[in-house]
């Protein structure tokens, strides 16, 4: 038994009753990291000295009002942490040891006094679905290290699944929280676009990116989101919409809940084991008094093409800031300034990042803008309209998070289009800007986790959490651990 088998609420009681100390929690993290991270590679940078000092400090001044008091957290390495190395898993930022400020989510977390254990591995600049695009040793799936943990927040999901931290933050542009959460058997939430401030999140595709929590339980997830959510004047796209107390929404009551199941989400291409797990989940909901009907997300098959044009276009603009002038690694082989830009970027970026910058630059270039970028923006409208229409009649949309369980390391890395297709069920959610969560709903014959995706209306994370929580309470998938099933010991 690990301390991280308890929920935040349970640990809070243990701290309060002096059964454990914050130092015990932090020890648990670093001990586990020493045990498994040589195999899992979830961490890029450890914050051990600071974290241990912080734990001691917290033990000396208990604060029952702090909602994450002493809880060990891992942070995806594209979220700015003041004074703590932030690389986005890119060689370009390998030497970025001293970020000048904290992302808004870090400031919000800090008020509730968690302990930052370290920075988590990812696909470079969040571009990828397997973590194999990390420019460091890629993260492996704790359930079976021959398999990928998913991406791009692979380190965020793997660290929670392996019991290295109690919760983590990830970011999701086309599935980057939900897909690794599904592959690693944990709970991952992508909030409504605008729900969480993006200030201090190194931008990939600004109209799609959202930060969200990864945890072992829905309850813990709701608790972290209600802390990091909210309007921020530093992010003009953050929404001025009141943040409900998500933990109050966990009523365990889904009687009368109306569930829509898009037929495209259980169509050909979805693995039979995944389909079966989702059908079983629907039976669970029926037994809890909810009803479901089949619907159609007519344009979802166009989502992947739409997404790659839009996200790459935005990325090509966002990544223009990496020019070797103000931070990062500058090429030593350049004669003049333009040459310095080109060589620094070419030496610092990996293949997938270059590919997407090229695609985006092409789609935005003169003569092609209308045919590709603008066309994709129009199809985005159609995809969003599909969701709007369904949500006139239903409370949530439900389906698998991914078409298959985790795939093997090396299996898809040589073919970008096959890799992209893996995100077909998560991408529409980002394009529409609605919230979506992945919760564990079964295991494949090989012992790999399967994720159930629950999608809600704009700003209705409460219903998403309520729906996810009721399923979790009725099942025990979330209690399984990799080490019990032959994964990383």
């Amino acid at each position: 038994m690990s301390l991280f088998d308890y929920t935040i609420k349970e640990l809070e009681e243990k701290l309060h009753n002096k059964e454990i100390t914050v130092q015990d929690l932090v020890d648990e993290s670093y001990n586990r990291i020493k045990e498994v991270d040589g195999e899992v590679h979830a961490f890029l940078t450890l914050n051990e000295e600071e974290a241990r000092a912080r734990a001691k400090e917290l033990d000396e001044s208990p604060d029952a009002a702090a909602a994450l008091f002493g809880m060990p957290a891992g942070i995806k390495d594209n979220i700015m942490t003041k004074g703590l190395r932030t690389t986005c898993a890119s060689q370009f930022l390998d030497n970025f040891e001293d970020p000048l400020y904290d992302a808004t989510v870090m400031e919000k977390l800090a008020k509730e006094k968690p302990v930052t254990i370290g920075k988590l591995n990812m696909d470079e600049f969040a571009m990828g679905s397997s973590n194999e695009n990390s420019s460091y040793e890629p993260t492996r799936n704790p359930w079976n290290t021959d398999y990928v943990p998913g991406g791009s927040s692979g380190g965020s999901a793997a660290s929670v699944a392996a019991g290295e931290v109690l919760f983590s933050l990830g970011s999701d542009t086309g599935g980057s929280i939900r897909q690794p959460a599904a592959f690693c058997g944990v709970v991952g939430m992508k909030p409504t676009y605008g729900r969480v401030s993006r200030f201090g999140l190194v931008a990939f595709a600004s109209s799609l990116d959202q930060i969200g929590p990864i945890t072992r339980t829905v309850e813990d997830n709701a608790r972290v989101l209600e802390i990091i959510a909210g309007h921020d004047k530093m992010d003009a796209t953050s929404a001025n919409v009141e943040v409900p107390k998500y933990t109050d929404a966990l009523t365990n009551d889904v009687k009368g809940l109306k569930i829509a199941v898009p037929k495209e989400y259980l169509a050909e291409g979805v693995n039979p084991e995944v389909k079966e797990a989702v059908m079983n989940a629907l039976k669970v909901y029926e037994s809890l008094g909810a009803t479901w009907e089949e619907v159609s997300l007519t344009h979802s098959k166009y989502a992947v093409a739409t997404y790659y044009l839009l996200s790459s276009s935005e990325a090509s603009a966002n990544l223009a800031r990496f020019d070797g002038v103000r931070y990062g690694v500058r090429s030593e082989n350049a004669d003049n300034m333009i040459d310095m830009f080109k060589k620094s970027r070419s030496e610092g970026f990996g293949d997938e990042v270059k590919r997407r910058i090229m695609l985006g630059t092409f789609a935005l270039s003169s003569g092609y803008y209308d045919a590709y970028y603008k066309k994709a923006q129009k199809v985005r409208t159609l995809i969003k309209n599909d969701f709007d229409k369904i949500f006139e009649d239903y409370d949530v949309v439900l389906g698998p998070t991914t078409p298959t369980p985790a795939f093997k390391v090396g299996e898809k890395i040589d073919d970008p289009l096959t890799m992209y297709a893996n995100d077909i069920l998560t991408i529409p959610v980002n394009l529409a800007g609605v919230p979506g969560i992945s919760v564990p709903c079964g295991f494949s014959e090989e012992g790999l986790p399967i994720g159930l995706q629950i999608i809600g209306k704009h700003f209705d994370e409460s219903t998403v959490y309520r729906t996810a929580h009721a399923f979790e309470k009725a099942t025990d998938y979330h209690t399984k651990r990799p080490q019990d099933l032959g994964g990383a010991k």
Binding site: L100, A305, G324, S346, F349, R355, R380, T381, K384, L417
Partner: protein
Amino acid sequence: MADISKEQVKHVAHLARLAVTEEEVEQLTKDLGAIIDYAEQLNELDTDNVEPTTHVMDIKNVMRKDESREWITQEDALKNAPDQKDGQFRVPSILE
């Protein structure tokens, strides 16, 4: 295969400020061709009367008062720079 030439790839690489080797041009021509080819499927849809979505939320211009406030110091701003001189970022010469 979509019509994208090596010359176009070199032009786009220049626009994107990426130095590419002949080998990379070869690979990128192939990859971009395949991705653009795949994206052509969007042309199956009639979108003549569809408004483009730039932003899912209906956000208009977000204004604030133009007030100065504390942020970072000049020293801070320079401390991660690859090269600096006299309190400024130093770069290689622009003219040859």
